[in-house]
Symmetry: C2
Subunit: 238 residues, 2 copies
């Protein structure tokens, strides 16, 4: 079968947040990623592949057509369109990670994988945080997106209403290695360039940080994804 002009236009539109929001659909590329979504609670909307390798209704297309709809440099066998899940209510039963305007898709992907690894079931994102259904994020999550519940909300309002203790990471926060870290609470990570915004800073109960062991000349901060790895490890690994 050949792919239609309208199909190409429709799929390409899903690279933009506006159209993903409007259609409540998003793209997954590659065999491995698509398998993980097919095996999850996510609902398939449409599947294009160069071979009938999936146990799902597939529109078979040529390599050339696949490349036309792919956002990858080299398209990889299949491209799927999935429906976004219905938002679930936020629960406050365990550790929650909150992101205050994380913008980089690669960082977001790594953070979602870390939530999956450390059993953080809920990731609360400010409205300015990069869309988790951005194709680059989907690619970087390696399927973790199927297991971590992600909620976009007014972060300030959420934190104001929450009854959990709120931890925020700051360069000058008290050491994660000496603070008593609880099993329940909210951990806030900030934006790549500016850290946690002052509005959110005012809502933080405890400022924590990762002490620097190296040369004092090194004033660079850690990348937010790396910092999240270290902070989650400190909360969970004891």
């Amino acid at each position: 079968m050949s792919i239609t002009k309208n199909e190409i236009k429709f799929i390409k539109s899903l690279n933009q947040k506006k159209f993903r929001q409007q259609e409540q659909l998003f793209l997954v590329e590659g065999i491995k990623g698509i398998r993980e979504f097919l095996d999850s609670e996510f609902e398939l909307y449409q599947l294009f592949a160069t071979d009938a390798i999936f146990n799902a209704e597939t529109k078979l297309i040529s390599e050339k057509d696949l490349q036309r709809i792919s956002a990858l440099k080299t398209a990889n066998t299949a491209l799927a369109v999935f429906r976004m899940p219905q938002p679930k209510p936020i629960t406050e039963s365990s550790l929650v990670l909150a992101l205050d305007d994380v913008r980089d898709p690669g960082n977001m992907g790594t953070i979602i994988r870390l939530c999956d690894w450390f059993g953080i079931e809920q990731l609360i994102c400010s409205l300015e945080t990069v869309d988790c259904f951005n194709p680059k994020v989907v690619q970087a999550t390696m399927g973790s997106l199927t297991r971590v519940q992600i909620v976009y909300t007014d972060l300030e309002a959420y934190l104001e209403e929450s009854k959990l203790e709120i931890y925020g990471t700051f360069m000058n926060g008290s050491s994660i290695y000496s603070e008593a870290l609880p099993k329940k609470g909210i951990i806030v990570m900030g934006n790549e360039a500016n850290g946690i915004s002052s509005t959110i800073e005012n809502l933080v109960h405890k400022k924590i940080g990762i002490p620097q062991f190296g040369n004092l000349k090194a004033t660079e901060s850690l990348n937010v994804a790396t910092a999240t790895a270290i902070v989650l490890s400190a909360f969970k690994g004891r």
Copy 2:
């Protein structure tokens, strides 16, 4: 002044490891990065900039010429050529990080930044590990490259001769949260796809790992840079 054809050819050649090795020179782009190298023990070889903003001999060139020698999509004010440092002898006085064929420049850059942060002074790399003077690595290190000593060597021979205890990270290694981790030793991190090779595995005294807290369906491993962050934090942060 205008840039010559030979200069363009020469600078572009330094994007390749072969020519960097031959000339013992490497590239640094952008004001911030160049400042860090100028403030370090590294020796400047040549500096091109669109403005005389550095306290060093500068060849002033146009924006257009800068773009011609830059590897960045949008060139950023300056490009410098620095000399590679003389290799220093390996010391065994504290924690050493060893990389067994890490291939991704982004991961390498993050790992060098982590060494800087956690005060790991020596990073020992197998000969197949990505070159630390690869422009993408230099870009990703944010100046940490000026503070961490990096040695490329036959990793097998180095580990065989070392008197330090050798820790290797494996999916099924014993938990970093329950193992007693020493102040001195070698920590080996493996390749992105294959982990630690079997030759190196045979030289490891203690297999350690990061336990997974999440859903058991999640079988993906952590990215090597993220895993390094967690492992170094566990060794240093106690």
